[in-house]
Symmetry: C2
Subunit: 369 residues, 2 copies
Amino acid sequence: MKFTTSKSTLAHAIGTVQKAVSPRSPLPILSGVLFKAHGDQLTVTGSDTELTIQCTVNVETEREGSIVLPIKYIADLVRYLPDVPIQFHTLPESTSTTIIYGVSQINIHGFEPEQYPRLPAVEKGASLSLAQDVLKDMLRQVLFAVSNDETRPIFTGVLMQVEEGQLRLVATDTYRLAVRRFQLEREPEQQINVVIPGKTLNEVARLIGGDEEEITIVCGENHVFFLTGTLKIASRLIAGQFPPYEQVIPREFVTRARLATREILEATERASLLVRDGHPAVQFSLQEDGCVVSVQTQAGWIREEVSGAVEGEPLEIWFNARYMGESLRALGSEELSLELTGPLSAAVLRPAGEENYLSLLLPAKPPKE
Amino acid sequence: MKFTTSKSTLAHAIGTVQKAVSPRSPLPILSGVLFKAHGDQLTVTGSDTELTIQCTVNVETEREGSIVLPIKYIADLVRYLPDVPIQFHTLPESTSTTIIYGVSQINIHGFEPEQYPRLPAVEKGASLSLAQDVLKDMLRQVLFAVSNDETRPIFTGVLMQVEEGQLRLVATDTYRLAVRRFQLEREPEQQINVVIPGKTLNEVARLIGGDEEEITIVCGENHVFFLTGTLKIASRLIAGQFPPYEQVIPREFVTRARLATREILEATERASLLVRDGHPAVQFSLQEDGCVVSVQTQAGWIREEVSGAVEGEPLEIWFNARYMGESLRALGSEELSLELTGPLSAAVLRPAGEENYLSLLLPAKPPKE
């Protein structure tokens, strides 16, 4: 293998796949990155077998070939290379690569590419396409609600459904729930109903956007694929049935407030400073002309008045301050609508005047007096 | 106490003193920051009794007074406050402060200011003044060589000497030594010979510079003071005799190289990637036309050629890669002079053509074959 490229091209390709590589993988070859030069393209692959990321870049190839190099050395090395043409040179049958820059060179021991696990091929299956920045935005609005609790795997994923041309993403950790809808321009031929690991989608959200290009999602039997011109992300799906979520969304409310998102978020953030060492709940009092955010702890007390339009009955309710902060940040709108059915029932948060997104947040217990 | 100020003024004052405060100090009041409003000034003080930092800012005072507030809450709170006029209000005899911003307010429990330890008063003693950016630069050039080993306290400090109008800063951890000289415009009346904790000087270096103003250093019996218009830093001195250092600086050399600092630094940084999991030494081969930096480890090998002018005999010597990197970064010059007296003797590094700074670096043992 012999190809020449730039530092920035290498850094981009390695940075793209890096999060899929565990430097301390029990299978040593998986602590490496697969480099494959073919035609005038270099394909760089990282994988932990559950999640695989592949990035293709243009290079000047002199001789095709491939090698696996340890992420631990190659990632930092590329950051420290000078900004000159950089040549990768692997002799046939060799498992080390010499990297030549100017009059200097470094040689890194790697692994035989034949040992690298076979990656899942893109399966036939239902597929859909949409703009990268739309998907990125949708993911941001639901990923905060994904659970980290590996003992209940289904909640560590995001439900992706397509029905009648509508794409729906749903996540819940049972304390909060986020639902994002989007009407596709082109309806897929088949319905889709899969649960995708949150970890995979965090990577998708990190890597896409920033250009006009569309992203294609292909759902196979056991895997999902995210495909752009230069990027291929493959991930296993999470098996199991996502819980029915529609029925837990309240359809009526006794109190509804329209508030400035930033004001209520900043009040919540300041209140959360006072509760960070104790009971995490903060009180939200909906009154005729707005919402009072308050709490009293050993450290002191806070009382913030956020003016807004409130319909219905006055109501006092407690929320986990951190959860409320995350829900508010996910709204992405200047104003929000907060709908309540009682002090012990889930609240519904929506961007004001927006039907395609909502999140639910269960109230927290008030601290003991 | 009642005063009004801005978020940025508060953030500046608290950020200035914060590093002197231990949030988990065994003496609870030292986990707080002393606020004292007097005239139209607010003095904010943080201290761990060894190091005290005081910052004075202008505020609108309505009633003088003081209070101690826990750094743990007040530092983050100020970051989260809105950008509106902010009023601190402490009722007489109260140990809590209400912070009022717009229609909202937060109350923080604190401590009685009378409990706060008395700070060392500026002692009479030898004093000198110099430009802040000159001192900052001098400190940066010696602080990397300070030891972290608390069992030999003298090496955790920097020797400050003034003799015949020349200010000298010296630091060593016994593996490397850095000496910086500066000719003062105004000669102090007394000689100075004190050892100042490296921790103190790191804070001084962090806080000064950026304006034209001078800084005054006053050396008392047990304390040193750094004084500017708004800043007062007091620190205990380290007792004991700094080792004689002049005699270890080689006066002759068998090989001298003049090299581009950045080139040799970058080669050293790349080489240090290969040695980070094993023996830390990298080889430097001085040859007729420059220096070859090389090493071979389990991870691979590197060979970098840095061209330069070399006088004297060819010579191969090994250095700790991290130490060499730190020494090179401290030079602050485009070119350096590297003087060697043999493969087992200390090297002298100087900014090329500069007499006011040098550092010494002991060679490292080569790795076993």
